[in-house]
Subunit: 466 residues, 2 copies
């Protein structure tokens, strides 16, 4: 294949614990419902986390929808007609092989057990596999049940009575929303092939073994784009999306040595996929999928056409042909992306004998673009200028005021949360009407007239966006 | 009370059908899963709708988080520890009075039946009320059951086994996420009282009688802000939020004559509320809640403190007191807001004997800020200039290219979706390097050098934002 798979582990990333601890302490991510002992595999984004995540979503939307003339957005419901998930194949085959220890009743995914990692898809469905390989519970060594297929969709009931006819699912992917709306979107937007539908939104999977912080959650958010193409162009267009999606991560600062492509083996392919290549990132727990790029062929639209009875063919005015489009999908998510930007930008440095922790986030992704800090909080004139400047900048972008420590400590706090610029209002500011802007990465300072600082910050921000 | 309640119906708004039809045809809102016959009370946002809704969310976030120094954001999970909903009172009392016709088995909300509209909260819980008032099925006149309290929370199961211990709920409000994270947010953001936590996110309510387009859905999105205050300041701060929230709607163009305040009667108050005043809008189906402002007292934090065993008191460094803060809540949502902006801005005019349909959306809310239109699509030089200009503007804001009709029709299409400015590239553009910008509302045109058009649009947009 044409996409080399790095085997080099690449430069080391921060420890997972370091990031989880920083995330909680500084307000990026908290364990959900913590005062009640938490809930497994759900995380809440705090004041800084929600800004980071929103910036990630906005950056993706800008690259995928706003800047392009051929992709439009959609925001379909999490709840859909239950037949959608029958047609899509999720009711029948969106499952993981579950085994249970007969003595302590712990549950495991067969393909994550020691000895099960390299099993083929066929083996994972083989009822005799556990006995044949002599697999045991990794916790207490007890005997394991034969694998059963555990469906990952969350089910609930709509309307006042709990009966099967009212059962609906929480969507396990946003993609189906784009497929069932294909005709509506195409007709109302008048787009011609090739064109895409982009969505950002929550999905839910009842994972048997979630974990690794926000990497695998039961409730998570997706950023998926479905690109509808002529069948004879699908293979070429699939290849074009590969570097485009990888470049999006490096454009926002991810170290390219920690990124690679990995092609799915034939027996690893999802039921809908003709070809699938992952963009992988080197997480602290190994190379893992950051985003998947899939050639889904005409599987989805053909199935929906057959089951719904609606004609989902496209009429090509240039060739006068009618056909069911192929779909090339790019499937990533803001949780994994934000996690990647966080961990990849984390660094520890020594500055004048002291440790400095820096999140070197791209300015466009940083929760606060600027912190306005008074050198002396006991001087009301200085505090007033600082507040006024923060309020003025905040009309255009995220800015924060802080006076709860000495200036050196305030700078360190902003370094640790990735704020690219700090403005310090000092005693001289009262006389010369100027203030210093400090750069997070170089730690250099420049002095500018206060009235020009907002413009300077906005220009730096615009340059960072590229 | 100090908030006059308008009884004047105010100026007429568009018919609901007109808006639903425009919304589908132009790609604002489609019925969910339409190819499978739809799913009740869920709607999907199309290419224009998702832009409008995102703009509404961004405008709210800017006013509530970005511009303020005392409010931070949060994005808590939809799934939370189930005990949260026991403590909050939702498991016990978040329900509507359901009655069922004994002959056709249709279900109704007792308080929406003819004869049931003005019943007190006590009456609605009275098992003998249907018989006493002689209420009948409004469809077939059949006898109705006694009311039963139908809980509105959607329930699902987390983990591989469906048993009660694994039952979790889809949150019916985002507010509880802010309460259980109160301590984490306060500690990591170092905010002092009064300060607020703002959230935007999906919530779910298994409504007995949803309807009126996106006004009442079973899956919907909220924009809620919880403001934590000293108990002795709660009444005053509650009053301050009333005009601030009403003004937010008028700032973005809603006709103030179609807005009013309405205070909840004592027996209408939710179980948590000390006082509640709605901002109401005059929808085509009557005056209805657009946003609620609530003084929740210390109900929520005291209950969570008692049930979780975590100390949720705030230490006031100024007075050295420890106390449980009161909460003033503002509870609105992007679906109802976007619907209001849509319907309120809709107008039909006669221009030179022809009907012109205009969505007079504030430019900051409009899906596209500018449409770039070639006067002649057969002239490649003109088409190329138009594409280049659109691509350049699209790096900064939403812009669309369209050449699929004559210029007059293209203008009308953009008027109907609320695009504030159209740029027409014509034959003269090839010679003078200039183009006309047409204003949606005044229909006046000005000619500007093409290289200055992007700046001019961005300046107009910034002015519209105010």
């Amino acid at each position: 294949m044409t996409h080399p798979q790095t085997t080099d582990p690449g430069p080391a990333v921060a420890e997972l614990d370091t990031i989880v601890s920083l995330a909680k302490r500084r307000g990026f991510v908290y364990p959900s419902s913590e005062i009640y002992g938490g809930i497994n595999a759900v995380w809440d984004y705090g004041p800084l986390g929600v800004e980071l995540k929103n910036n990630v979503k906005r950056a993706w939307w800008r690259a995928m929808v706003q800047e392009r003339d051929d992709i439009v957005g959609l925001d379909a419901g999490i709840l859909m007609h239950p037949q959608v998930w029958v047609t899509s194949g999720h009711v029948g085959s969106f499952s993981d092989p579950l085994v249970e220890c007969q003595t302590d009743h712990r549950r495991f995914r067969l393909d994550e057990l020691p000895g099960g990692e390299n099993l083929s898809a066929t083996d994972l469905r083989d009822p005799g596999i556990v006995e044949r390989l002599g697999l045991k519970c990794p916790v207490d060594g007890g005997p394991l049940s034969a694998p059963r297929q555990f469906n990952l969709m969350f089910k609930t009931h709509m309307g006042p009575i709990e009966e099967d006819s009212n059962a609906v699912y929480l969507r396990p992917e946003t993609a189906q929303g784009s497929y069932v709306n294909f005709k509506n979107v195409q007709q109302s937007s008048r787009k011609k092939l090739p064109f895409g539908i982009a969505q950002i939104g929550k999905s839910f999977r009842n994972e048997i073994s979630p974990g690794n912080f926000v990497f695998r959650m039961r409730e998570f958010e997706q950023m998926e784009m479905q690109y509808f193409v002529r069948p004879d162009e699908a293979a070429r267009i699939f290849e074009e999306w590969l570097p485009r999606r990888l470049d999006w991560y490096t454009r926002y600062g991810v170290n390219p040595e920690r990124l690679r492509f990995r092609e799915h083996a034939p027996d690893e392919l999802a039921h809908y996929a003709k070809k699938a290549i992952d963009v992988e990132y080197r997480f602290p727990f190994g190379w893992k999928e950051l985003e998947g790029i899939h050639n889904r062929g005409d599987f989805d639209l053909s199935r929906h056409q057959a089951e719904s009875g609606e004609n989902l063919e496209y009429f090509d005015p240039a060739t006068e042909e009618h056909f069911v489009p192929f779909i090339v999908e790019t499937a990533g998510g803001p949780d994994r992306s934000a996690f990647t930007f966080l961990i990849d930008s984390y660094r520890e440095e020594e500055v004048r004998g002291e440790k400095r922790v820096v999140l070197g986030l791209n300015a466009d992704l940083a929760p606060y673009k600027v912190a306005v800090l008074p050198l002396l909080k006991k001087r009301p004139e200085i505090v007033e200028i600082a507040h006024r400047l923060r309020d003025d900048i905040a009309r255009d972008t995220m800015a924060v005021y802080d006076d709860t420590a000495a200036i050196g400590k305030l700078y360190r706090r902003q370094d640790e949360i990735g704020t690219p610029w700090c403005v310090c209002i000092d005693v001289e500011s009262l006389e010369d009407g100027a203030a210093t802007i400090r750069d997070r990465d170089s730690m250099t300072q420049e002095r500018l007239p206060i009235e020009g600082i907002k413009r300077a910050i906005l220009d730096k921000l615009s340059a960072a966006r590229g």
